[in-house]
Symmetry: C2
Amino acid sequence: MTWVPGAAGSPYGVHNLPYGVFRHGGRPDRIGVRIGDLLLDLDGAEAAGLVLAGGALRTATLNAFLALGRPQWSAVRARVTELLTDPAHRAAVEPLLVPLQEVELALPFQVGDYVDFYSSEAHATNVGRMFRPDEAPLPPNWKHLPIGYHGRGGTVVVSGTPVTRPSGQRATPAGPVFGPSTRLDIEAEVGFVVGTPSALGTPVPVDSFADHVFGVVLVNDWSARDLQAWEYRPLGPFLAKSFATSVSPWVVPLDALADAWLPAPEQDPPVLDYLRDIPHLGLDLRLAVDWNGTVVSRPPFAGMYWTPAQQLAHLTVNGAVVRTGDLYASGTVSGPTREETGSFLELTWGGAEPVKLDGGERTFLEDGDTVTISATAPGPDGVTVGLGEVCGTIVAAGPPPR
Amino acid sequence: MTWVPGAAGSPYGVHNLPYGVFRHGGRPDRIGVRIGDLLLDLDGAEAAGLVLAGGALRTATLNAFLALGRPQWSAVRARVTELLTDPAHRAAVEPLLVPLQEVELALPFQVGDYVDFYSSEAHATNVGRMFRPDEAPLPPNWKHLPIGYHGRGGTVVVSGTPVTRPSGQRATPAGPVFGPSTRLDIEAEVGFVVGTPSALGTPVPVDSFADHVFGVVLVNDWSARDLQAWEYRPLGPFLAKSFATSVSPWVVPLDALADAWLPAPEQDPPVLDYLRDIPHLGLDLRLAVDWNGTVVSRPPFAGMYWTPAQQLAHLTVNGAVVRTGDLYASGTVSGPTREETGSFLELTWGGAEPVKLDGGERTFLEDGDTVTISATAPGPDGVTVGLGEVCGTIVAAGPPPR
């Protein structure tokens, strides 16, 4: 039981303890851990000798801490828990607590390689129907491997960063034209943050997931559907995605999600050996997509066909390295019903079936729209684990380059 | 005229001066500039006050120097030229020259985002014919935009790094199987190294290329064609490419290539405004692909349909940032004849038409094979600019993950 006022029973109690990077009082960015509606200044805590991490908590980004590896992650978590629960520490720790409303949250880690998967069967089926109506909805490889592709690490931004509407080429009957995207969309996803690196040429086995992955963020992989439809053959999405990918400011440790694992959907046909995870588990994360104040969808992460352990095993089976700070996202999280879809492409069926919003009808994103994706997971003893939120507001496109 | 013995008239005279990172005498990695068959230790030169770059030359990677921007790049180049040509500096500079055969060359810069284009018309046509025989060889978007996709920055390695044969899934009539790639290939490319970053949301105009790009490396984008054919639809190549991408150890500054620009192929249909570069110039880089000691191909970079300035303008037109250390590659450089192709897929027409090599016939790469891609460009006064080489030897696949 934590002594921090208001934290006990909250989704951000001592069972959670997500890490982030904050700005406060004009000082340089510092690492903190959330407890209730406060954060514990870990830079100050390590400076005071209250927690020891070899200086890794005294930097402006989580990367050095992420690189320490699971034994150290566990040790720091145990010590932080002790500081926040044992009243004997209250006098020393309380001055290091900062109200969340006083801070600005920064990108929590420097992103290395960013990979985006495509692991919801409902999403892949929906997109296949819309983008490739003359073919089977699921590509022939889809149930044999977790399809993924590389995105742009350099345009991963923290929640709250305004998203400028991208311009680019889209097809018209008269040929391609250049201009601001007219079909700007979201993708509600869950991202996995790599801590411990792997070695070049050495795959990460499917059962070594927790040795490498530190924790979870929420991801909004903003997508310009008109740009995507024109550019993506044959080498995949490029500018339709690379203008911005937003992540939540809190990295929730896997340790906080121990009660959220549950059997993942059965895989038929059976997968190849290197993808066989026993037990085959997914995470019961319950997402909510809020569009200008209205929750329009509740995508269930529990139904994802490919698990995060399988994704990591696949990503490295060719010998590719993962590095500290690498991020891989699940792909759009969509359940089988319209109210569980993780994109507006699916929610409005390509714009053909608008949703009611703000007293009118809406399809894709308009300038000024704000989308907030949040999530919770089951925690210990009936309490909830909060994953925070990732939000962004659309800003009008800038002028053409010249 | 340089006073450095043996350097005058060489492809690495004072007209070239490529930058790299070297290891020597058990000391930490240092920055050097090549002159003839020696390198000038720029760490030592800045330490001695012979060249001033605010400490950017006293680090273990080129990134800080790349971040300085064009005026500083020019100032350092002018000063290094002075040091290597004015005999008055010889006594101070000569002790800082290190024979190349004594050093090990390291990855010259930390790679941020890695993008690979697809800008040779001959290559795209050849691949289209082989991968999509039922469709037009060039996709409908190909002449409207420089198609590209993101690769894996974390597995960019320096020339000389052994390349382990990747394992992965390939299709068979009985379904996908897992194992070492049986169609391992090269892609001979030219890479552009970003120095000056751009701002999120602000495209880089097509005429600002030289403000952002510092220089050029040679790239071998190793490719597993069997993995690629099975995985690439609908989101593009992933594991078929991400196991290793080799780059040359020397970054040749754009300043060294001033005499290598020439008109690029005329573009018909006309391109959209943001891609219109006037003058429309390519680089006359002459590549050579050596396979186990035999030059099997001479790909001409001058014939590339899309120019590096157009590629950068396209890459950022949606507001995506470029950062210091970002690398974008041209895509496979292939000319119209078989002897000008930049991949063995094309050279052997998908393996159907083997080439004679080592007294036998060969199609794709075998374990132990070594491929070396080199290039030269025309320099001032009839002298040649050497771009060095990127080489790699194939090592047998490791065991499966478990």
